[in-house]
């Protein structure tokens, strides 16, 4: 027998039983700090600036003026709304990867009213119509895979993913059919624009995001529906024994999940883009999947993570704008990638402990 056989391994992994809240916060904070450090180093490498300049630029790009601050909050809120929408579906182990499609479907439903009746109906009528139909549109987009999952046990991950592409093609079709949009980009109509509140055009987005977070928190933690979602997500057989109808709960939850994403689509059409395009939301439908997961479906964490991602995005954009000759706007995505890498990586250290030779496996 080889001698090394009798030695304890240099490194081994021990599963942690529980993690104290303080430790969890510390590990995550360290991950965020490291992510920001790497983002900085990355920029130092691709630009000529020093690391302090990079951070100064990122901070000033986000907080310099009320316009930049508003952009920062607006993007964080949109990401947050979509993530909040995904949370109940994920909690139910319904892997909804179709948030992007649900946002687009909601956007299309809202834009339909805007395009056809935007000059004939007052805001008080058209905005609620747009809101409700966007929710229904997004809801239906999620409902279709849900029905197939329950009735034919199809895989909802693939199904919801494919629904994204159907939505993208539909939008392309509509842009051509509604040729003015195709030509001009914007649907300019008398009404159908979300009004400002306290002089801030984005204020209603913030209000809706805050409401979405609070209502979803209550829905998932305090209501019977939320309880049914947890049971089905965790133990489908137990749900059957308790007489919970899987069909009803999955259909209902998928619809609610899609509806919240659809509302995000409504906001894009009525407050941000004033049109529909296949790039609406800039892929937030996918980023939100990770936000929801990282936050373990906890709306408070979702808020924090959304803000961080938005900060990385606006900060990166600022640096790109200062180096337009050498950098491209897709740099922001690289930085978000770095950020998510660290955030997801730190989950490993929360679940496992690395024990060095001679160390004790007595993790807290």
């Amino acid at each position: 027998m080889k001698n090394e056989k009798t030695r304890e391994p240099l490194l081994r992994l021990a599963k942690r039983d529980t993690v104290s809240p303080a430790r969890a916060v510390a590990v995550r904070a360290a991950a965020i700090a490291l992510a920001l450090l790497f983002c900085g180093i990355f920029f130092v490498c691709v630009t000529d600036s020093s690391i302090t300049d990079v951070y100064a630029a990122m901070i000033s790009g986000t907080f310099r003026s009320s316009i930049t601050v508003n952009t920062f909050f607006k993007e964080a809120c949109m990401l947050l709304i979509i993530a909040v929408g995904l949370a109940p579906a994920f909690k139910m182990s319904f892997w909804n990867i179709g948030a992007q499609g649900q946002v687009l479907a909601g956007g299309m439903a809202a834009a339909m009213w805007l395009f056809y009746l935007g000059n004939d109906l007052p805001n008080a009528v058209i905005l609620p119509l747009m809101f409700v139909s966007a929710a229904v549109g997004g809801g239906i987009w999620a409902l279709i895979p849900a029905v197939f999952r329950v009735k034919f046990t199809t895989n909802e991950t693939l199904f919801t993913l494919m629904m994204n592409y159907i939505a993208i093609q539909l939008i392309k079709f509509l842009r051509i059919t509604w040729s003015p949009i195709h030509a001009l980009g914007m649907i300019s109509r008398k009404s159908g624009t979300l009004p400002s509140l306290f002089g801030n055009a984005n204020a209603l987005i913030y209000v809706i995001a805050a409401l979405a977070v609070i209502l979803m928190y209550v829905y998932m933690n305090k209501t019977k529906h939320g309880y049914e979602i947890s049971v089905i997500g965790e133990a489908p057989n137990t749900a059957r024994y308790a007489g919970i109808s899987e069909f009803r709960v999955i259909i209902r939850t998928a619809f609610i999940s899609g509806a919240v994403c659809g509302i995000a689509g409504f906001l894009y059409v009525s407050a941000i883009d004033h049109t529909i395009s296949e790039t609406m939301g800039g892929g937030y439908g996918f980023t939100a999947v990770i936000v929801a997961w990282l936050a373990k479906f906890n709306p408070i964490f979702m808020t924090l993570i959304s803000m961080l991602i938005s900060f990385v995005r606006t900060g990166s954009r600022e640096i790109v704008s200062r180096n337009t000759t050498t950098l491209d706007s897709s740099i922001a995505n690289i930085n978000i990638g770095i950020f998510l890498f660290f955030m997801l990586g730190c989950e490993f250290f929360l679940n496992y402990k690395v024990v060095f030779r001679g160390g004790k496996e007595t993790g807290k």
Binding site: R12, D17, V231, K360, K364
Partner: protein, 510 residues
């Protein structure tokens, strides 16, 4: 160095966070012997064996294999030392055949030589007396066949120290017999076999020596021939025990449930129940015996409204001072509301009836959460209920919010059975209520069922252990292939009689 010692453990300690699972365990296993590892739930048997098989690494202590110090860092190291473990939960790939599962993960070239593997599997089977078809897919295997395959898997890898974790928990008496004869063949071949079990009569039957653990500590090793069930049980729990199940005479017996011509067909169109008819009475315990998968599950689920029954089936429920009700066609919730409760303990203990990530409180309201406000949950009543179940049944849990999957098997089952009893049902159905439980907890559950019986509840008890059925129940209904093979008086029936009914419709009279 004594060459006869195959495994020697010295001062093995293993901690998980603040919990010490094993503390200074020192024991040995000889070559060519069957060592039974006995201990209550949570006494650290599985943890100790996991350290031998490379799943955990001990915090302190030494392991010697065949007289040489060994450091077992991974299951691969364990294999190289000739240690193979057969876990309670099988680790097989369902869509693969037996042979494919056996060669899975073995080193080799790019191409699989399944023919050679099958030859070797056949020779292993012949040598030890297994029966298996190397081309059979795992998903079409019975539990016993899967277990056989797991054993073949470790033998194929050349193991000569085999660890079996509660191998008989899911087997019928006949399957257990077959397993034991295989174990005896392996012992004759000079292999060391460590068997973890709760069943004392099996320990007496199969083992040469018994090592006893209590709360993570090694107590003693006894020669089986010098021990009896009572001394073993007492060594295990550390106090005097009376190994008798109480069986009060039924009083004030009334007909509660009348099942007539109950038939079920599985999703694949295979009949699972054929014309089952029987009556269940309040104030008695009706045992249901049978080889696993003979319709026990379908029978209980039909009564609870969870199974689609065939036309012509009828289940009449007669409540106290009320009209008779036909249960067929009612929803599970309506049936529960009438006072028919079902607790089914599945093999994984959690899958049917509990949600692992939820605490006791949230699990308590699983079947009653629909009451009260139409929108919001009320946690007050379930919390009180959880508190009283915890107190009455002695559930050991750090808090009512601790996820039940962190509790030990016995405590999980107490939560499950406790919730059903708390609903004050008039028909209480339990399946495998003591599955994998240690002696003390099992007796606590029998006491609970007897209490219900004394209250006039019609108790239907589906069990695996015929000895227990004969001691606990008033009558025993034996199922065989989805049909009622016979209904016998448990006070006069014998184990052999039941065994005959289990394997042949009509039993001894046929």
């Amino acid at each position: 160095m004594n060459n006869e010692i195959a495994v020697k453990l010295t001062g093995i300690t293993k901690r998980f966070g603040t919990v010490t699972a094993n503390s200074g365990v020192t024991m040995d296993v000889r070559r060519g012997e069957v060592l039974a590892l006995l201990g209550e739930n949570g006494s650290g048997k599985t943890t100790l064996m996991n350290m031998l098989s490379g799943i955990y690494f001990p915090d302190e202590g030494e392991i010697e294999i065949n007289g040489k110090k060994a450091s077992i860092r991974s299951p691969k190291d364990a294999f190289e030392l000739g240690i193979g473990m057969i876990h309670q939960h099988f680790k097989l790939v369902d869509v693969f055949t037996a042979a494919e599962n056996v060669v899975l993960g073995l080193p080799g070239g790019m191409l699989l030589n399944l023919r050679e593997a099958k030859e070797k599997i056949r020779s292993i089977c012949e040598k030890y007396g297994f029966e298996t078809d190397p081309d059979k897919k795992v998903y079409s295997m019975s539990v016993s066949e899967k277990q056989t395959l797991e054993i073949i898997k470790v033998l194929y890898r050349g193991a000569d120290i085999l660890i079996l974790d509660e191998p008989t928990a899911v087997l019928t008496p006949q399957e257990t017999e077959r397993l034991f004869s295989v174990i005896r063949n392996m012992r004759a071949d000079g292999k060391s076999i460590i068997i973890i079990t709760h069943k004392l009569h099996e320990v007496m039957e199969i083992s040469d020596r018994v090592a006893i653990l209590r709360r993570g500590e090694y107590i003693t090793t006894l020669e089986t021939k010098d021990a009896d069930e009572k001394t073993l049980a007492e060594a295990m729990v550390g106090e005097k025990l009376a190994l008798n199940i109480d069986r009060p005479q039924p009083e004030g017996v009334v007909k509660r449930l009348s099942v007539k011509d109950l038939s079920c067909v599985s999703a694949d169109g295979v009949p699972t129940l054929c014309g089952v008819s029987f009556d269940a009475y309040g104030g008695e315990i009706l045992g249901i015996a049978g080889i696993s998968g003979c319709g026990q599950k379908e029978l209980l689920e039909s009564i609870a409204g969870l199974q689609k029954t065939e036309p012509g089936s009828s289940i009449i429920y007669s409540p106290d001072g009320g009209e008779d009700e036909e249960l067929v066609g009612k929803s599970p919730r309506e049936i529960r509301a009438l006072g028919v409760a079902l607790s089914f303990v599945p093999e994984d203990r959690l899958g049917m009836g509990l949600v692992g990530s939820m605490g006791m409180t949230d699990n308590m309201m699983l079947k009653s959460y629909g009451e009260g406000s139409p929108v919001f949950l009320h946690k007050k009543e379930p919390q009180d209920l959880a508190e009283s179940v915890r107190e009455d049944l002695g559930v050991v849990t750090p808090s009512l919010a601790t996820p039940v999957r962190r509790l030990s098997g016995g405590n999980v089952q107490k939560v499950l059975v406790g919730r059903e009893i708390a609903e004050a049902p008039s028909v209480l159905m339990t399946a495998y209520a003591v599955r994998g439980l240690d002696i003390n907890t099992s007796y606590a559950i029998y006491d609970l069922l007897n209490e219900q019986k004394k209250k006039g509840v019609a108790v239907i008890y589906v069990g695996e252990d015929i000895d227990v059925l004969l001691e606990l129940c008033d009558r025993i209904l034996v199922l065989c292939g989805g049909k009622v093979s016979g209904i016998v008086d448990a006070r006069s029936a014998t184990k052999e009689e039941i065994g005959l009914y289990m394997t042949k419709i009509g039993g001894p009279n046929a």
